[in-house]
């Protein structure tokens, strides 16, 4: 528990980095693909003084939509990694068949405990919702397309649901163990 702040910081840096990286990669990809001319504008009256500017509203919508799509896919990829670990490689409820298979592959260390899984999983799920929020703001400002917001909302709900499912299963296992010890 004493290392929790450090662990949280470490766990939060990766999704934050993935989120920013996804946005940048998406912007570079779509700008180069369509040869959009862009410029950097310095506007001191705005909240963000340096802005990436494009020639038309259509270009802005395309760049914002695709870069947001890349952003959520990048964060989703990391989130799925931890979700799969939580669902299938969790030391509290892994199946014997999986253990045998991992032993054969000399990958038994891939199985993690609850503490090691839930902190990063919580961070990644949080960043998925942060992406959904940012996409929502862009959609409200008419920069991003509505389908992306719906897509990201579905992703957020599914990911959160699966995470809750695993946490609930974990609680059930712990309760069973507690009752067993008490008896």
């Amino acid at each position: 528990m004493k290392n929790l702040p450090l662990k949280m910081l470490r766990s939060f840096i990766y999704p934050a980095g993935f989120m920013v990286l996804g946005k940048i990669v998406g912007m570079i990809f779509i700008t180069n693909l369509n040869n959009y001319p862009f410029s950097l504008q310095n506007n001191l009256s705005e909240t963000f003084s340096i802005q990436f500017t494009y020639a038309s509203v259509e270009q802005v919508q395309m760049v914002a939509t695709i870069s947001n799509l890349f952003m959520i896919i990048f964060v989703l990829a990391g989130c799925l990694f931890w979700l799969i670990k939580a669902l299938f490689f969790h030391d509290s409820h892994e199946s014997p068949r999986v253990i045998v298979k991992l032993s054969e592959l000399n990958m038994i260390s891939f199985i993690s405990d609850t503490y090691s899984i839930y902190v990063p999983l919580f961070a990644w799920v949080l960043y998925v919702w942060l992406c959904v929020g940012l996409i929502g703001v862009d959609t409200y400002l008419d920069k991003s397309n509505l389908w992306l917001l719906i897509f990201s909302l579905i992703i957020g709900i599914v990911i959160t649901g699966l995470s809750f499912y695993d946490v609930q299963r974990e609680f059930q296992i712990k309760n069973k163990l507690y009752v067993h010890e008490y008896e």
């Binding site: 528990m1 004493k2 929790l4 702040p5 949280m8 910081l9 939060f12 840096i13 934050a16 980095g17 989120m19 920013v20 946005k23 940048i24 912007m27 862009f38 410029s39 504008q41 009256s45 909240t47 963000f48 340096i50 802005q51 990436f52 500017t53 494009y54 020639a55 038309s56 509203v57 259509e58 270009q59 802005v60 760049v63 914002a64 870069s67 952003m71 949080l126 960043y127 942060l130 940012l134 703001v137 862009d138 920069k143």
Partner: protein, 189 residues
């Protein structure tokens, strides 16, 4: 000190540090991503909406001023006039410190049949030399008006609902005065 007490202290300190850490790791990437959100290039502009709306623009060295017409009237009215007698845009020549005020009128009339295409006839005078006025309809047309008041083409098809941009290109030799006031009245003829 018992182990339970020690555990409580460690937990309290951990939570104390977690809150700012969480804020930093959530707020910083959010700000970065928001900053990366693209915008349309508008160095400086005034937006004109229904009937009479005045929106001043900020000063400083700007290259373009845009007046946007995107009124619902474009979709509904058969003919109407946009009177921009109250346009007052001051240009200051940076080298000569010479002040020029631009007073213009813009006439917008629908001469179309069923499809309600709108023709735009600009009238400009008192345009300082070195100032170019560019009119953009949607992403297609681009009309340049030179310092003698000549323009091309003479009529612009402005489809109802389409945006009209009026830009002043100054090439850095002029500064636009700070208190730009654009007062546009739209009346149905």
């Amino acid at each position: 000190m018992s182990m339970n007490r020690l555990g409580e202290i460690i937990l309290t300190v951990s939570i104390f540090f977690m809150v700012p850490i969480l804020l930093v790791v959530l707020v910083v990437p959010t700000l970065i991503v928001s900053n990366l959100s693209p915008t349309v290039r508008t160095d400086d502009y005034a937006v004109v909406r229904k009937n009479k709306t005045v929106l001043g623009t900020q000063s400083s060295l700007v290259k373009d001023v845009e007046v946007r017409f995107n009124d619902e009237l474009l979709k509904t009215s058969p003919a109407y006039r946009i009177n921009t007698d109250n346009i007052r845009i001051s240009f200051i020549h940076l080298a000569e410190q010479k002040h020029t005020v631009l007073n213009d009128s813009i006439f917008l009339k629908n001469r179309s049949d069923e499809n309600k295409t709108v023709y735009f006839i600009p009238r400009f005078d008192q345009i300082p030399s070195d100032v170019e006025i560019a009119l953009t309809v949607g992403n297609i047309s681009n009309v340049i008006i030179d310092s003698n008041g000549n323009y091309w083409p003479q009529e612009i098809h402005l489809v109802p609902g389409e945006e009209l941009l009026l830009g002043f290109r100054i090439d850095g030799r002029y500064e636009i005065h700070s208190d730009i006031e654009i007062d546009i009245e739209i009346s149905v003829e």
